[in-house]
Symmetry: C2
Subunit: 228 residues, 2 copies
């Protein structure tokens, strides 16, 4: 039975309550606020508002006054949830990278053979970015604004995904189902196609292309190139 977006979207590990609840529990000691349900509710609200505003005008252009208005929290209250605007920026990045690597690892690790693994890897990327399009867009567009010391997180994330695909292709070549091609460039092209899905959201929405259609198309496109 093939994985579909319908099924994937019900995974409890990708709900905001789960992600930010976890974040709160792990960092409890840093919060002045003690009431968990209040904290998580506001964390989610701040997080969503930040992604929305960053998507519209960019994170740097977003002011804390904008964020205050969007969340219905005063500027003073906001500072109970993050120590500085810069730190809010990092929190969103780090939680994003963690989410991506965790979810992908969960779904991929047991998959076999390479052909099936390739399909699942592509689908999970598309599905996850379909559930959190603004978050993915943010991670892509704002990465360059990370401080030098945090940039390695982002490069690590880019190369993690790429390695996932180079490994699958290598396996496929050894198994004899894939032709001998430039593995690194092929993996890069797969990434580029996955990213187009959330970078050009407006285009695909307008054309009414679903996540499953897009994933199928990419799989077909890639297979026509690498299959023997």
């Amino acid at each position: 039975m093939e994985l579909t977006f319908e099924q994937f979207s019900k995974d409890p590990n990708i709900t905001m309550e789960y992600i930010w609840g976890n974040y709160f529990k792990k960092n409890r000691i840093f919060f002045k606020i003690k009431n968990e349900s209040v904290a998580v509710k506001n964390l989610i609200s701040i997080f969503n508002a930040t992604l929305k505003l960053s998507n519209e005008i960019g994170f740097q252009a977003m002011t804390l006054r904008n964020l205050s208005k969007e969340t219905d929290l005063s500027m003073g209250a906001l500072y109970n949830y993050f120590p500085s605007k810069e730190e809010l920026f990092k929190i969103i990045h780090i939680n994003g990278f963690n989410l991506i690597t965790n979810i992908i690892n969960n779904y991929i690790k047991t998959e076999t053979p390479p052909e099936q693994k390739m399909k699942t890897a592509i689908k999970i990327h598309i599905y996850l970015s379909e559930v959190e399009p603004l978050w993915f867009y943010f991670l892509y567009m704002e990465t360059k604004n990370l401080k030098r010391e945090d940039r390695k997180l982002s490069i690590g994330s880019e190369l993690f995904t790429e390695k996932l695909f180079t490994d699958i292709i290598s396996d496929g070549i050894q198994t004899g189902i894939y032709a001998e091609r430039n593995i690194l460039l092929t993996a890069s092209m797969i990434k580029a196609m996955l990213q187009d899905w959330y970078l050009k959201r407006w285009k695909y929405t307008k054309r009414k292309i679903s996540a499953d259609e897009y994933a199928s198309f990419i799989i077909e496109f890639i297979e026509s190139y690498i299959k023997i």
Copy 2:
């Protein structure tokens, strides 16, 4: 004789002197400065510095103090070359879109048959973005910060390129050399691959992949999918 990057890079229409010289001539009446060679020299310097700084920290984060330092012009002097920071932003966008459409039209219009036209269209995109990587990066990353009324320029540019490729593919299908596939999605994927070249410049530079290698790879990749 196939076009190479070596040849293309000698085209006089893509030099900064030509582009900004033209811009100055067309807008002479708006400049307080009358000396053309001084004006063009400084326009090029301002333009290059803006692209460099925008690439590093983003256009919004770049201050006119940064720009002043990078160009060795005072803030007062800068304002002889553009009326406001916002207007500088638009000037770079508009000249960029013009350059791209002009160059591409020049090289493409006489090409035939579809298979050859496809090759040339891909090469010109890669070559032009190889000559001006920072400019292309800027156009891509900063587009969303255009005011609503100027956003149509950018969408127009995106769709212009896409139409170029859908037209070529349609021709190829009619000529019988291309299979019947999803034309719009195929064109989108071609665009995504072309864009990866300047969006991930650091990666390809590190891996020592040349513009010609990259172009050849994309052509091979796409042909394996659409050729009958």
